[in-house]
């Protein structure tokens, strides 16, 4: 006769605690934010009428007029990404802890990068509009700073994850720091860096589309103008057009990035 095996019951306390806490946080937030499901239901009709005015039909004759602000948006994203990415590369090298070992450099550098990355592009743009005035230049500056923070961060993490054996081999044959960088580190991270830059462009296209709200140029400015005048059929057209452009750019950029890494 075999003894019956008994094991202690699993302890569920932690799991239940987590579920309760998360539920409390979500419900509490909804209450504080004034979220009300009945208000959503009650305004469904108003919302659908607005959608009807926007898209049934959108103002197709407006397309020629939005091509130029759309181009400006793309240009802003392109220049902003380019400038940010260029500055990001040397910064990432200095911020990586396996290339430069003194904490005095990479700790403060990382702090700055984190700050840049946390400030939304919209906030940066409103600051720059205050400094440089209305127009695309302020938008480009905002995008460049944001991109710089983003790409630096991703790239220095790639640098820290490289195969250190290749670095060791270059050191063993008498290479100095610059040569180690050129012959062991760059070949390993260049594909990833390029991929991050294209991803940055993807993000910036979307960001650039709304930067006009604070007067920083591009399609956002046209959008805001038409909303203010309640030209909803034109608003609908802008949204469709922007959506199409963003979609195409996302598809192309993910296709390129897939082949890179």
């Amino acid at each position: 006769m075999m003894d019956k095996i008994t094991v202690p019951k699993p302890r569920r306390f932690r799991r239940n605690f987590v579920i309760l806490t998360v539920a409390f946080l979500i419900l509490g937030s909804a209450w504080f934010a004034g979220f009300n499901i009945f208000e959503v239901m009650g305004n469904l009709y108003k919302g659908s009428r607005l959608l009807g005015r926007m898209f049934l039909p959108p103002d197709f004759s407006y397309i020629p007029r939005i091509i130029s602000p759309m181009l400006e948006t793309i240009q802003m994203a392109l220049v902003g990404t380019f400038v940010g990415a260029i500055i990001a590369l040397p910064t990432a090298v200095l911020a990586a802890n396996n290339f430069i070992k003194t904490k005095w450099l990479h700790v403060p550098l990382r702090l700055i990068l984190n700050i840049f990355r946390t400030i939304p592009a919209m906030v940066l743009a409103s600051l720059f509009v205050a400094v440089f005035g209305l127009g695309a230049f302020s938008g480009v500056m905002a995008l460049a700073i944001f991109t710089f923070g983003l790409i630096s961060k991703l790239t220095f993490e790639s640098i820290e994850a490289i195969d250190y054996g290749q670095v060791e081999a270059l050191m063993s044959l008498g290479a100095n720091k610059m040569n180690v960088l050129r012959y062991a580190i760059m070949p390993q991270i260049l594909p990833q860096y390029t991929s991050y830059t294209i991803y940055g462009f993807e993000v910036n296209i979307r960001a650039a589309a709304v930067l006009g709200w604070v007067g920083a140029g591009g399609i956002g400015q046209t959008l805001e103008y038409n909303l203010a005048w309640r030209n909803f059929d034109k608003v609908g057209m802008i949204i469709i057009f922007s959506f199409a452009i963003v979609l195409v750019i996302d598809l192309v950029s993910s296709a390129i990035r897939k082949r890179l890494v």
Partner: protein, 259 residues
Amino acid sequence: MIKFLNVSKTYPNGVEALKNINLEINEGEFVAIIGLSGAGKSTLLRLINKLIDSTGGEVFFDGESVTKAKGKDLINIRRQIGMIFQGFNIVKRMSVLSNVLSGRVAYHPTWKTILGIFPEEDKQIAYRALQRVDILEKVHNRASDLSGGQQQRVAIARALAQEPKLMLADEPVASLDPITTVQVMDYLKKINEEDGITTVANLHHVDLAWNYSTRIVGVREGKVVYDEQRKDLKKSKFFADLEMVYGRPITHDEILGDE
């Protein structure tokens, strides 16, 4: 050529990898260093070109202190010392030629090497190095496209391009199959004999040490416990003596076996 004077190395985590090592290696020797993993073989090798700093004693290369060398002096020492590794450590995203040319970087001003400018005679050195290890036909391939044995031969060519006086090999065949192992060891031996390049190799397989070296040094728990000239040894005696190095009889996987 190489001299260890009371050298010890304690890692920051407290591991005593080497304890008071005294060892002299002469020009032209092919020294095999054997011992269990963790015995301190890799540390010993890396102290010779200061990839690791010692914590006591001094290492000399050609009469110069490696331990005290810094900056330009250290680079000048390192460029005379070729090194190959268990993981090959060639740069996989570069061409074979760029890899071999990178063996020349310590001979030119940095601004030129950064731009990838190498004189024609360096290219000839690179081609000749590739020819020595019979892999010249892969000169324009990407390094990642080569097999393990081919990558290790590129690594040897890169070291040869340095025109070194000394070749360090850290478990050079540990990630290769038995047939390519013999090829790679043959190249190392040929370079040692024909060019007179002193060679120090960490080897896991004791029969490789027996077949290729002129001197066998055994390391155990951070100390040199065995040091014999190969020509003075008898095979049966050698294999029996290995218990001194390993603290137990040799196991099957430490012998590569006959082809």
